[in-house]
Structure formats: structure tokens, C-alpha cells
Symmetry: C2
Subunit: 519 residues, 2 copies
């Protein structure tokens, strides 16, 4: 990079960007990376954290949970718990505190390829997809329609290329698959074929765990291979708020954990409907429900890899509709992150839900403040950060591309400002003010250009006249063009043709082979 | 509000919203308010703050500032400063520390009407407009064109109705006014006629101070009346970074401060061009430049009302263009806020700059993370929070309406979560889980509906089908409709016809009278 490039007239910016992107940066020279460390946003005081903690333990011990299944009752009672007169399972404080001390605090989240491995835990922040949208806004017609398996594969293929989307949880429900086993298998196969990153999905029934594990082994290249690098996690909605367990989900955990599946346990109460409308109460209930799941998983396997997902959603109290894009949502999610950090638990919250139906300005601002606060509170795995619309009832493929740029900028803000004698720049300032009077060609400027500054892929930084000359396109239009380009040309190859053929022989794979191997 | 309303089907949501908005809330029952307290985001550690502080004082004392005017040199040297061999004015550490201790820490920012008074200082956060855009995106054609005086009046009229825009700084340059005195007078008159909130504008030359003050008195209803409730602040770009003063701006301060004008002193270096590219250096230089202005104002008048505005802007280092919507911008602004809070100074930063040319998803997300972090760092007066596009080279009228909803949600997140025995809701949770099993009709839900939850004006929370039935409009389209409605019907009356006539007799007012009194 030469002085000339820095001084180049603005109209050359676009060509320069392309040239720069063509030369990938060494890992240690990147301005942002998966796992940039947050923690500078603390929505709660220490005293408030302590009160939420106390209220949480009280709920677990003195209110307890309904719908526990027999092996859970047995496990919890063996460690001092009891069934009360209302048929509710009480979790003793000592047990909860034991598990909080002994449970797994960090782990490697494996990609299908090692370059996508993530170190989860501590203050490290990662962004991923998520959700179970029944609809999609069609990339061509712009209309809402039912989501299909091929859409899910497309979503995964797009995210595979998005640097700031670090893992891929299934974000839509393939409505063209009715059979429950076929649904579980195909959902997982569509996303695992679409991206080499870590993937996450749910398993509907306990009987499906074994075939799903068999499929994961097959994708990984043979029996026992998945367990060595478990590249897929189980998304478990283990509770039906308020304070009841989801029985089938518990039976799934009983089978999946011993097989070495990492699990994200999710409590998704809706404030004002299935969780208290008062935000403090929402947080308390979510924490109690999540910690109950954590305790249970640890009783099944003390070495279990568990990501705690207290994920309450706020309602518009006038209508009862979800308002996942609200300011209330943003602060509730960040507060639950701070509680998880207090316990030093690997954690996940939802952020990036928008109530808008399409990627417009509302969508942009709602996603942005919710993700920003969750990230700065240092959530380890933020889900729903990309693509989602309509309070999780819709998604757009172009949204992943828009949101990737947003996530990069947010990651940069999380990285923060390094302070050193060098970065404080006092001597540089002195030189400049006594010399040239500006910093344009300064050595420091060239040094930080690629190391400290993030450049978006499609976000617009042109002067107004140039932007108009290029057709006055909004970011959604540019993202649609890019999505079409990706979908027409990028077919991941990490599940090779032989593996694909072997998988198709053993499992009822519904994704047309032609979609996977078009080029 | 009855149970029935809470349970009403979603399709009735819109009518309900309208009914609710028709009944304004008592002030103490509002979910958000001007001056909601931030401070939970601290991008810097205490040790980092101390290092920036030391580097700042070092720059002021050992590098000093160029282009000081004689009365400034005299004032600073009388307090231990000196001119060095490079003609740079050095600010001794003791003087800076004295002023930091003794300067005004809080003040009332007066509206033209008392209901718009703001208490500035501490951790209280306020949002306002700002900028000096030469262009506007025409509300009807959607094309960029030169900004005009009537546009400024329109912008003020719209913001007058936006609850979450607490003050109005002139956000565009009226390109239809060439004469410098006419420009200063008309800019101020257009905004002071358009909104009864506190307004801010610049004064180009020292000779213009007297006529501007006369105009402000005339608006306020007579000589000496402005000084009693100074409803307009002076925006002073007192430096030309790096580390040089803007001489004319200093001469303006020499006249405006003794007249009792509140002043926002602004240092707007551009990282990589007129400020260091390393973000820590950007912060240090901005703080040094801002504190030099603060010291100077206090030497002119120890009772001066000064808002410190360290407002560096980040560049895209590949092109040199501003990238005020970047993640780097967000973190730099928040860090300068933290420095100002360290000194307990009334402070202002810019946030809400977008590099996008129009209010699209990029615009939404860029505005949102920059404002969110500045607000949570507890900036007292955040400027540029609404309407701006194109890195301050453009604005849209509909943007004010979109951004108002965003600001409300961000304010809600700043308010945070109150923790009390009641809000922790343990007993409510117990009742619900042993009783109905949901919170829909719970007394708590009804109680918090209007006190704790913010409802947007135009942001969409409809189900997808309803949204499509209503025309699949994005928020920009809805905002345009609302802007046209406001501009056709709302003509503020706080500058009454008699005052207007008196002003027009004495001053060369160019805003057509018909625009102000159409209805």
C-alpha cells in the first residue's frame, strides 16, 4: 500500500476496496476476529446482580418446576432435591451452587473445518444465525411465502461466506418436510452441507437422536467421528415458561448428552405472556429456568458442554405480540448476559430480532442496538443476529449480507480502543503540528489502515453524486444482487460427492443432489 | 385499560395505539423522559482514562496551540501560560486542572417554552439534531438537491413534534442565503420559529454577535429577555485540528460569552486526516482541543455555560472520506464521552451519522450503534442523532420521524432495569405458576403497560399478513406520509404574529411569512 492509494480521489474507492479484498490479511493483522472481547457494558450494578441471583435461587428452591420426567426427578432428588405437594421439582440451593462451580466454563465449538473452530467462554463474543422462521421473503418477488428446505440450504451457503457470522443455527422451518424424523435429518443435512461452520439445530423426539447422530457421523466420515469434533450443537427448548419443563426435550437431552453433543439450553419466555411483564422478573425467571437446565445437563454428564441460553422475549403489551426489536428487549437480553458472566457460564442470547417485515431502516436500527448491547455485555454466542425479520416470523436471504457488515462494525466497537504510549500518539501529534499539519501520509495512518479499521463489503461510503450515478441503490438492493451472485455460483465442497452419495443411501435426504453439486 | 384490551386480537393493535396516544401520560408515569441516566457503558478502564488524561495535559502544556488571538494569549499567559518559540500557546497543567475543578458542571438548557427545559450534566442523556448539511434528499422527488432555508424551518417543525428529539441544532446550511449576516440571522430565526425547544446555531463573525443577540431578544419579547432564559446556544468550532485555533471563532466567543450565551465548543478532527489515525490518539487530541476551549471560555467568564464537544470523526483510510457510520466512530465517540464524564463536564458528541445516502437498513444500523454507545456512556447532549445521511452531506425530513422511534427505544434501554422486591416478581411468578399459568391478565402486566414499555409511533409491529394488506410499506414510506401530514398542518405558534411582524421590521427575515402562518 502506497501513499498514492491513501490520497487517491474518492471515485476510485470502490476499485481500491476490491483490490484490497483480493489480498486477504494474515490472521494476526485483522482488525476484528471471532471472539473479540466485550464486557464493558454492565447494565446492572453488583448489588443488583446479587439480588437477581438470590431471587433466582429462591425460585428454583421454593417455587420449583412442573413437568419433570422420572429420570430428572431421580437425578435431582439424589442430590437433595424434592418433589413438592404441587408436583413441582425443587432444586436445592447447594446443588445449584455446586454445579455453577463445577460446570464447564469454556470449550471449543468445532467447525466442520478447523478454521471455523471457536473458543467459547469468558468475555469472547461470537455472532451467529438462529430462529425458526416459518416464512421467508422471496428473494425475487419480495413477497412473504412459506420457508422451504432449499431456502435453508441457501441461507447456510450465504452465511458460509459471511466473515462476521461465526456459526450457523437453523433459522427457518422447512415447511416442505412433514415427517418429524425426515425434518430433523434434512434440516441438519441442509445446513451442514451449506456451511463448513459450526451448526446448530433441534431434535424433535428422543427416538430421533440416534439417527441424527448417525447422520452426523456419516457427514464427518465414519462412526465415532462426530464425537471427536462435534461440529453440530443441539438447540434444546427444555422449558415451557413459566417454570415448567418440556418433557420430550428432556428425553432428548437424556440421549444426546451421553453421546457428546454440545447443547444450548434455551428458555424463551415472553414478557407479559409466559414471563413477568416487569423486566426484572423476566430476567429472574429466565435465569431460574436456564440454571435448572444447566443443573440437569450436568447431572446427566458432569463434563457436558452446555451453553446457557436465557432468551426471554418482550411483548407489545397492548396486543400481546412479540416485540423483539424493542428497547426493552435490548436491555433484558444484556442483563441476562451479565448474569451469565457473573457465573462465568458460556452463554447465548437472542439479539437482532426486528419487528419490521423487511430490511429497512427500522430493521437496521432494531437489530443494531439489540446486538450492540448484547455484544458489549460480552455474550459468547449471540443468535438471531442476521437475516431475521418480523419478530422471527420471517427472514430474507439478502439480510444475511446486510447484517454481516453491521456485525463487523459492532465487533470493531467491541474490540475497543487500545491504549499504549504508541497509540496515544503524542509524539506523532507533535511531529504533525510542527510539520505538515495533517496526518494523511503519516506512517501511522498507513500502519493502522488494515489492522485497526474495518471496511464493509456492501455498505455504501460513496459521495452522494457517485451513489446517484451508480443508480441510487439502497443497501437491500445491493445485497439482493450479491445474494443472487452467491447463490448462483457458490457451492461448498466440504461434504464431498462421495460422502453425499453415502449419506443419501442411508438417509431420506430431500435436498436435490443437483442443488448441491451444480458447478 | 381493561383485560379485554390486552387480549384484543392483533388486528386491532393499530386502533388501540391511536386511542392510547390520544390520552397523554402524566410526566411521572412515562416510560422514558429527557435526561434518562446512562453510564453503564465504560469503554475504557480507569487506568486507560488516567493515561488519556495525562497525555491530554501533556499535549496542552508541551505541544500547545497555534493561531491564538491576542486576548486569548493575554488571558492564558496571565494564568501561567506562555507563547513558545513556534508561536504556539501553551496551557499549563495547573490552569487546566483549576478550570476542570471550578467550571460549571450542570445548567438548565432553556426551551423557548419551559416544558422543553433540560437539565444538562451528570449522567443525564439527551438527543438532538445537528450538522451543517449542504444537501437534502427532496421529500417528493427523492433526489439530492441543495438545502434551503424553508427546509430548515420544515426540519425544525418536524422535530418540534418528536418527543425523543430534545433540542434542535441547525442541521443544514441554507444555500439560498449568501450574505453572512443574513445567513446567521435567518438560520436562527427559521429554527426558533419552527420549534419551541432549545435551539443551537453558529455565528460566523464577531460583528454578527450583536445583531444575533438583538434578534434573540426580539424573539423572546424584548431587550434583556434572552439572557434570562437563553433558549439558543452558540455552536463554536473553536479549533481547526490539529491543535490550531479558529481565530474568528475565538473573537465570536469574546463577544458571545459576556452576553450570557451558552456555548458548545466543538473539536471535530478527522482521524487519519486532521487527527491521528490511531483511535487513542484521536481521543487525546480531541480532548486537548476541547479542554483548551473550555479553559478559554472560563477565562472569559468563570460562570460561562460551556458544553464540551470532543467530536472527532473517523475516516475511511483507503479514500480519506468520512465514515461517521463506522464501528470505529462509535467507539471513539463513546470514549470521549467517558473522558468528559471523568471530568464531570457537560458534554456533547456526534452520533447518528450514517454513511448511507438514504434511510435504509445501513442507515438504521449505523445510527443505532453509534447513538446507543454514546447514550449508554452517558453523553449529555448527543447531536446529529436524527435526520442525517451521507456522512453529514445530506439529510431527509422523513428521517427525523424514523429516528425519533429509534431514539425512544434507545432511551428505554438506557433507563435500564429497576430492581426491587416488587420488580423481581418472585411472588407474582409463584402465583402464576400455581394458578393461571400465564401473565396475560396479571395485575402487574396492566400496571407496567404504559409506565415501563415504550411504543413507537411509526415503527411496524404488525403480523406479516396485516402488513402486506396495508401495502407492504417500509418505514421510510410511512415516515414520508407522516412528514407530509405534519408539514401541511403543523405551524408552531410560540413566535406569535405580532412578534413575527416586529422581527421582520427590524431584521432581513427571508422565510416567507406565509410559510409560518399558513393556517
Amino acid at each position: 500500500m502506497t501513499d498514492a492509494a491513501v490520497h487517491a480521489p474518492r471515485r476510485r474507492g470502490r476499485e481500491q476496496r476490491h483490490a484490497q479484498r483480493a489480498a486477504p490479511l494474515a490472521l494476526d493483522a485483522r482488525p476484528i476476529w471471532p471472539g473479540v472481547e466485550g464486557g464493558r457494558f454492565r447494565p446492572l450494578t453488583d448489588a443488583q446482580v446479587a439480588r437477581i441471583h438470590e431471587a433466582t435461587l429462591y425460585l428454583m428452591e421454593d417455587v420449583g418446576f412442573g413437568n419433570a420426567i422420572p429420570p430428572m426427578v431421580e437425578r435431582v432428588c439424589a442430590r437433595g432435591g424434592r418433589m413438592d405437594e404441587h408436583g413441582r421439582l425443587r432444586f436445592p440451593r447447594a446443588l445449584v451452587e455446586d454445579v455453577l462451580r463445577s460446570c464447564r466454563k469454556t470449550f471449543t465449538s468445532h467447525g466442520q473445518r478447523p478454521e471455523h473452530d471457536l473458543e467459547i467462554g469468558g468475555r469472547r463474543v461470537h455472532f451467529g444465525s438462529g430462529g425458526a422462521s416459518p416464512n421467508i421473503v422471496d428473494l425475487d418477488t419480495g413477497l412473504y411465502r412459506g420457508a422451504m428446505l432449499a431456502d435453508l440450504y441457501d441461507a447456510a451457503r450465504i452465511c458460509d461466506l459471511m466473515d462476521n457470522v461465526h456459526f450457523f443455527n437453523r433459522s427457518l422451518v422447512a415447511r416442505d418436510i412433514e415427517n418429524v424424523l425426515e425434518f430433523d435429518l434434512n434440516t441438519l443435512y441442509a445446513i451442514a452441507s451449506g456451511t463448513a461452520k459450526h451448526v446448530g439445530s433441534s431434535i424433535t423426539t428422543a427416538e430421533n437422536v440416534e439417527p441424527v447422530l448417525a447422520l452426523l457421523d456419516a457427514i464427518a466420515g465414519g462412526e465415532g467421528r462426530y464425537r471427536k469434533r462435534p461440529f453440530a450443537m443441539l438447540l434444546s427448548c427444555h422449558v415451557v415458561p413459566p417454570m415448567r419443563f418440556a418433557e420430550e426435550a428432556l428425553w432428548v437431552l437424556e440421549k444426546a448428552l451421553p453421546a457428546g453433543m454440545p447443547v444450548m439450553i434455551v428458555s424463551a419466555g415472553q414478557a407479559g405472556a409466559t414471563a413477568p411483564a416487569k423486566l426484572a422478573g423476566t430476567v429472574v425467571q429466565a435465569m431460574a429456568e436456564t440454571l435448572a437446565g444447566l443443573v440437569y445437563c450436568n447431572l446427566i454428564d458432569p463434563q457436558a458442554t452446555v451453553i446457557c441460553g436465557p432468551k426471554p422475549i418482550v411483548s407489545d403489551l397492548r396486543t400481546g405480540a412479540m416485540s423483539g426489536g424493542s428497547g426493552e428487549q435490548a436491555i433484558v437480553a444484556a442483563a441476562t448476559v451479565q448474569m451469565a458472566r457473573y457465573y462465568d457460564l458460556p452463554c447465548s442470547v437472542m439479539a437482532g430480532i426486528s419487528d419490521s417485515k423487511i430490511p429497512d431502516a427500522q430493521s437496521g436500527y432494531e437489530k443494531s442496538y439489540t446486538i450492540t448491547l448484547a455484544a458489549h455485555a460480552s455474550c459468547n454466542m449471540i443468535t438471531q443476529t442476521c437475516g431475521m425479520q418480523a419478530s422471527l416470523l420471517g427472514l430474507t436471504k439478502e439480510g444475511y449480507i446486510i447484517d454481516n457488515d453491521m456485525l463487523g462494525a459492532i465487533a470493531r466497537s467491541v474490540r475497543g480502543i487500545e491504549i499504549s504510549d504508541d497509540s496515544l500518539s503524542v509524539e506523532t501529534i507533535r511531529e504533525v503540528v510542527l510539520g505538515e499539519g495533517h496526518y494523511l501520509g503519516n506512517a501511522q495512518t498507513l500502519e493502522v489502515m488494515t489492522r485497526d479499521y474495518v471496511y464493509p463489503e456492501i455498505a455504501d461510503r460513496q459521495p452522494p453524486a457517485t451513489w446517484e450515478e451508480q443508480g441510487s441503490k439502497d443497501i437491500r438492493e445491493r445485497a439482493r444482487e450479491r445474494a443472487r451472485e452467491i447463490l448462483a455460483s457458490r457451492f461448498p465442497r466440504h461434504v464431498d460427492a462421495a460422502t453425499d452419495a453415502a449419506v443419501r443411501e442411508r438417509f431420506p435426504i430431500r435436498l436435490p443432489r443437483g442443488l448441491m453439486h451444480r458447478t
